[in-house]
Symmetry: C2
Subunit: 317 residues, 2 copies
């Protein structure tokens, strides 16, 4: 057993990660900024704002974690790709990393993104050892630069860095307004949903699978970049179809009701051979099962809190 | 005339840059950390530690510079290439850049390094648009990552970023212990100097030429990376020869007295077509003239302060 520090631990990705790690008897120290995080057996919560150096340094010196899972990032919907806060989070991540190393840390897992790759001309699954890195957004550039810095620093400090690259995700607690929650919520509200042609092929992973993949990557000794994805391409059209079939209201979907965005690549799928062969991880949730669980979760939200939550999601898209 | 903020303004590079800019009637605000910077007509000095956020923010809001020349970096001799302070200086440079943009800045010139390039297999002059970037040191990785971040941020913020890449430098005030000062000082002290085979070819620029190149790049509208170098390769052997001839003591040089370092590439020379054709800059100091001026400067140091300064330099190599 070793002490693991997890940042961003209350998020869409963070909470499943904390649960996955805690279920294996690790000593988990999880950071949160808002009051009253969810109770998870075996997890010690610490209220620390990563953007404030003093609090972080105090925490690190009292915990002296051996392993770090850094998930926290700026996540304000609609602004993630281009906001200057991406730069702030690079600064904050570098401070975190230095503090971790100064207090004896040995292995870091940081979260990058499929957006680090060059999306301008994707012709095959994106592969860690071959595909070009040429991020088109400030978010992608920030993750790419942080990876370069963290790798060079880890080499110098003689610690391990694993760099996970999630692709497209879905599951409970996903931010309202994103594709999957907005389709589900519109249908649950009996409202029609306009979508684009839906021909784009994407690599979607259920968030519980991502959490398990992060836990497996942390426990392995694999270093460097690892795609955290399903390796399976699905058209957005087929995603929406499956949601509609689960809810029995195909009439509510207006295909072609939104224009295709010309800058969106036709295909974004990960090569997952590193994750499968080196980390030894296989996803457990087929798309149908993950979508069914997600629809059920939203249905439970409605019965609990009325239609407000659904309206939030349907409208914010 | 526009307000220019210069960081690292008291350094080996910084002071000539400040002089070059001031001589053209710019409104120069120069930062220093140690007491009593040298008087330069037209320059307003501000004592600010860039590593402290509050002071920087206050300064930026009171000056609101239109242009920024960011030269400051960690420079502790012998530790520059690998020290974790390189990460601290990335953080600090990102804060500086954000503060500059927040207060209306329009054009930034930052200093990178020839060490951003892949040095493992150099077969031709290193060229901004063709040569691979694969820094081998933490210093190179830090500069490379900062450039990527600053470029993406500048694009997003719609300001200009020029990224100067100096190669090898020499001139007055160079840090004691580096090749040129240590050879000069040993000879002035009548001590022998051991050097390696000296067959390595390097691109050396006189620091006054670098300062003029930085001023020219700042005044141009060129953006992106620009090699700031002479474009002329010289063997270290021939450099030492020229110094020896200036001082008349060839007997003091022990050629081959130091081993070649296997990781040092045989040739590091810059392609300077961007600097020459786009910036419109040509160096004014041939190597012989620059070395003569440097030897004279060291001779003046001796007559002023005795042999202590020379011994410092000769011994610290």
């Amino acid at each position: 057993m070793s002490r693991v520090l997890v940042t961003g631990a209350t998020g869409f990705i963070g909470l499943p990660v904390v649960r996955a790690l805690a279920s294996r008897g690790e000593e988990i120290h999880a950071l949160h900024t808002r009051p009253s995080p969810q109770h998870v057996p075996g997890v010690r919560w610490h209220r620390v704002n990563l953007l404030e150096e003093a609090g972080l340094e105090h925490l690190m010196s009292s915990i002296t974690p051996e392993r770090l899972v850094h998930l926290a990032w700026f996540t304000e919907r609609g602004r993630v790709m281009h906001a200057p806060q991406n730069i702030v989070w690079v600064e904050c991540s570098l401070r975190l990393m230095r503090s971790f190393v100064r207090h004896g840390g040995r292995r870091m897992l940081m979260l990058g993104s499929g957006a680090e790759y060059d999306w301008s001309n994707v012709e095959e699954p994106l592969y860690e050892f071959r595909s070009l890195l040429a991020p088109a957004t400030l978010y992608g550039a920030a993750k790419d630069a942080l990876r370069r810095l963290a790798s060079a620093y880890a080499r110098q400090a003689e610690i391990e860095l694993a760099w996970g690259r999630p692709f497209f995700l879905y599951g409970p607690y996903e931010a309202p307004g994103r594709l999957v929650p907005s389709v589900i919520c519109s249908i649950l509200l009996n409202e029609s949903v306009a979508i684009s042609s839906g021909r784009q092929v994407r690599d979607y992973m259920y968030v519980e699978d991502l959490a398990a993949a992060i836990a497996a990557l942390l426990d392995s000794s694999v270093v460097g970049a690892v795609n955290l994805a399903s390796g399976v391409g699905v058209t957005l059209d087929s995603m929406v179809d499956q949601i509609v079939r689960l809810s029995g209201r195909p009439d509510l979907v207006l295909r072609g009701g939104l224009p295709d965005r010309p800058w969106e690549p036709p295909m974004l799928v990960a090569d997952v051979s590193r994750l499968r062969d080196e980390v030894g991880f296989q996803p457990r949730w087929p798309l149908a099962a993950g979508l069914a669980a997600t629809v059920q979760w939203w249905e439970a939200q409605t019965s609990r809190s009325g239609e407000d939550a659904l309206e939030d999601s349907a409208n914010q898209r």
